[in-house]
């Protein structure tokens, strides 16, 4: 079954043209996350989440975006996948079965979490390095796709 899924995904991804020109680096992602964390501390969740979800806002840059989990795994804000907002993704795993949400919520301060996810720009399934910063009950995340 996993192979079937992989085949579907690969077929699906093959038809999507790769766009690597403006791919962000992990450092950039880290900086984005740090900015968002500062913002959160400064303006509170409500304003911060709205800013994150603003597709034209300061927390969006090509394939770079910010998303926030609470400690239970609930997605409280998502800059890339709006449909995930309000959903608890604690059970979500990546294509290899890695329970990356659990890894994210388990971070006490800051840390890196690595998993495979779809690049919203290239639509490709790529390896992603996410920097996580804990701010009170929230985990502020931003990651860079490692394509090419």
């Amino acid at each position: 079954m996993a192979r079937i899924l992989t085949a579907i995904l690969l077929m699906w991804l093959t038809f999507v043209p790769a766009q690597h020109a403006l791919a962000a680096t992990p450092e950039q992602a880290k900086a984005m996350a740090e900015r968002a964390a500062v913002y959160l501390k400064k303006y509170g969740p409500e304003k911060t989440f709205a800013a994150i979800e603003d597709s034209l806002g300061q927390f969006r840059d090509h394939d770079l975006y910010v998303f926030v989990h609470d400690t239970t795994g609930l997605v409280v804000a998502h800059g890339g996948y709006a449909t995930l907002k309000g959903k608890n993704t604690i059970g979500l795993t990546d294509i290899d079965g890695k329970p990356f949400v659990k890894e994210i919520v388990s971070i006490k301060d800051t840390g890196w979490v690595n998993y495979k996810w779809q690049n919203p720009v290239s639509k490709g399934l790529e390896e992603k390095l996410v920097y996580v910063i804990r701010v009170g009950p929230y985990l502020v995340c931003s990651g860079a796709y490692k394509s090419g």
Partner: protein, 669 residues
């Protein structure tokens, strides 16, 4: 063990019961075994049924497990399809239909799992709980995926991807359920098969036992039938055989004789009938008792059968045996047979430590010459036997016409004897007794029978006949009364001697008769002397001595007659105070020629002197004998030398005119 009584041939009630039990036991056992077989059948049926039920339920559970896997697979695939369709941008409705179909399938999977869990065969070894846990985890992921199918195919796909492992986990668990159940069903089936096999074995065993018991029933019935048949055969045997010796009995002998007689009438061949009895058997019985007597008869029978060498042997009763020889040359073969029998009886019998010697006497009649019918032939053989015994026992005698004539004469005489008293054919002769010096001191009364056709018959001939048919009682009574009456009429008070027969001691009241005779005649008791032979003393000594004492108490003297011919037992002389001993004439007549006879006379005389008994010597016929007796100091003598037995009228001068007068009157009248 030879059967000794009729009861040995009959089934006793006890043996009937035991036979009934023996007969009843196999059917009862058979019934028990039948019931056992039925029970086993029902147990087996139930075992098989339970096995079937278990197997069936296990099968059902396996079916549910498979159903679960199928539905799970169906649902999972449908979800993937939905994600795929969504990503391809197909119509929203089609995707949502697919998602609905997926969850319908997953619902069915859930129900299958519930049903599987509810089946009682599902035990701890079946991983239902693990399957359920895996399935529920899968379902969570599947629902997450479904949540995103329509909004974000990638997230849905990721959820489905995560669900994938849980799907595989649930599927693996379901497979484990199937495997466990299959193993269980196999075990159940195997157990059921084993149970069936063992039940069949038991049923087979029980059936085999049943068959054996049926055979036992049949056998026992057969045994009863056999037992009854053999009982019938034994009763038949009993009817034809002597209970004591097992020899054919009189009935069988008669049948045999008739058939032999008839067959020889056709063939013209001769056949011999041998009548046989044991010498002095009655005395043996008296001395040793009937039990020993019976054993002797059995042993004698065995010797006879052995000596007979196939000739027919039967026991007619008592010590009477009979043999029939229907083969071979009659005279020579019969003599050879008789010789074998005499040889067989030459050895003593040893019974309970007693050594008993008995000879046999044999009388033979040869058919068809010696008789025109079987009964006559047997009668003639019997006559020959009588003759053999009369001739001194231990011998064989063939029937002769003369013998037959004598026998018939004897029977005729016995018939006539009954008429002798009433016909006044009996008379008394008197023979004098004298002292050794020649002085007549008394007379012995001797009976004579003047037969109307045959003339004077000597007592040696008719007294045994009278003793045989009981006429001696009346004759003895007549003699005593007549002699007493005669002696009482004598003017010379001489002694009177009267002989008593042993038979008189067995019947009637002898002392009373003696007393009556003395009273009626007026004869002084001390003039009467009663002579008894040793034959009187054989048998019940005590009774005889008691009778003799009562007679002696009347004042009558008792003399022991014919001493020396029988047992001559000193114990008799010691047990009873006889007044006189009379030495038998045989010794006296032999005394001059035979030193042994002389010695016996001397011994008896010596003995009598020791006991202070007077001795009378009988049969003194010569002066030499008288001289010998005188030398030996004998007290009294009797014999032709002194005087023959004569009518009392011949001795009228001695006894006195009383008798003479009566005699004269008789002569005149």
């Amino acid at each position: 063990m030879r059967p000794t009584s009729i009861s040995d041939y009959m089934m006793t009630p006890l043996s009937k019961i035991s036979i009934a039990w023996r007969a009843l036991l196999p059917p009862v056992l058979l019934a028990v075994v039948m019931v056992g077989v039925v029970v086993l059948f029902s147990i087996t049926y139930r075992t098989i049924e339970r096995g079937n039920t278990l197997s069936m339920r296990t099968g059902l559970a396996i079916e549910q497990a498979l159903h679960f896997v199928d539905e799970l697979h169906l649902g999972h695939t449908a979800l993937y399809r939905a994600v795929s369709l969504q990503s391809q941008g197909v119509e929203h409705r089609i995707v949502s239909d697919k998602v609905a179909a997926a969850f319908t399938a997953l619902d069915k999977a859930a129900r299958a799992l519930d049903m599987l869990a509810s089946i009682d065969v599902v035990a701890d070894d079946v991983p239902v709980q693990a399957t359920r846990a895996a399935f529920e985890a899968y379902l969570t992921s599947a629902k997450e995926a479904a949540n995103f199918v329509e909004t974000d195919a990638f997230v849905a796909a990721m959820y489905l991807n995560g669900a994938d492992r849980k799907f595989l986990d649930a599927q693996a668990n379901a497979s484990a359920i199937g495997a466990a159940l299959a193993a269980r069903r196999e075990r159940i089936d195997k157990d059921a098969a084993a149970a069936l096999a063992s039940a069949l074995t038991r049923i087979g065993t029980a059936t085999a036992i049943g068959i054996l018991l049926s055979l036992a029933v049949a056998t026992s019935f057969a045994r009863i039938v056999t037992a009854q048949t053999s009982a019938v055969a034994r009763i038949a045997h009993m009817a034809h055989h002597d209970a004591l010796t097992g020899l054919p009995n009189r009935t069988t002998f008669n049948e045999n004789l008739v058939s032999v007689f008839e067959s020889t009438q056709v063939s013209g061949k001769e056949f011999a009938v041998l009548c046989l009895d044991l010498d002095r058997f009655k005395e043996i019985n008296d001395v040793f008792g009937h039990r020993i007597g019976d054993v002797l008869l059995c042993r004698a029978s065995e010797r006879l059968i052995s000596a007979a060498q196939g000739a027919f042997v039967a026991r007619l009763g008592g010590d009477e045996f009979v043999l029939v020889v229907s083969e071979g040359r009659q005279l020579a073969d019969t003599e050879a047979l008789a010789h074998r029998i005499f040889t067989a009886f030459a050895d003593e019998f040893e019974i309970d430590g007693h050594r008993i010697r008995t000879g046999v006497s044999i009388g033979v009649a040869v058919g068809p010459n010696d008789g025109t019918d079987p009964a006559t032939i047997v009668g003639n053989a019997d006559a020959a036997l009588y003759r053999a015994k009369a001739d001194g026992r231990g011998t064989i005698r063939f029937f002769e016409a003369e013998m037959d004539r004598q026998l018939r004469e004897k029977r005729a005489l016995q018939q006539d004897l009954h008429m002798a008293i009433s016909g006044q054919q009996l008379l008394l002769h008197y023979q004098p007794l004298a002292t050794i010096a020649g002085e007549i001191i008394g007379f012995e009364a001797l009976v004579r029978w003047r037969h109307p056709a045959r003339g004077l018959i000597p007592p040696a001939v008719f007294i045994p006949l009278a003793e045989e048919n009981g006429a001696i009682i009346a004759i003895g009574e007549w003699i005593l009364r007549e002699a007493c009456r005669e002696a009482a009429s004598w003017t010379q008070k001489l002694n009177l001697s009267v002989n008593l027969s042993p038979v008189q001691f067995l019947q009637g009241d002898l002392p009373r008769l003696v007393h009556a005779a003395l009273l009626e005649s007026g004869l002084a008791a001390n003039r009467l002397e009663l002579e008894v032979t040793e034959g009187v003393l054989i048998g019940d000594h005590n009774r005889t001595f008691s009778i003799l004492r009562r007679i002696k108490a009347l004042g009558v003297r008792i003399a022991m007659d014919d001493f020396g011919t029988g047992y001559s037992s000193l114990s008799y002389l010691h047990s009873f105070p006889f007044d006189k001993i009379k030495i038998d004439r045989a010794f006296v007549s032999d005394a001059e020629r035979n030193a042994q006879s002389a010695a016996i006379i001397r011994a008896v005389l010596g003995l009598a002197r020791g006991l202070h008994l007077p001795v009378v010597a009988e049969g003194v016929e010569t002066v030499e004998q008288l001289a010998f007796l005188a030398r030996e100091d004998c007290d009294e003598v009797q014999g032709y030398l002194i005087g023959r037995p004569c009518p009392i009228s011949d001795y009228a001068g001695i006894v006195g005119h009383g008798a003479e007068t009566r005699h004269e009157i008789a002569m005149v009248s």
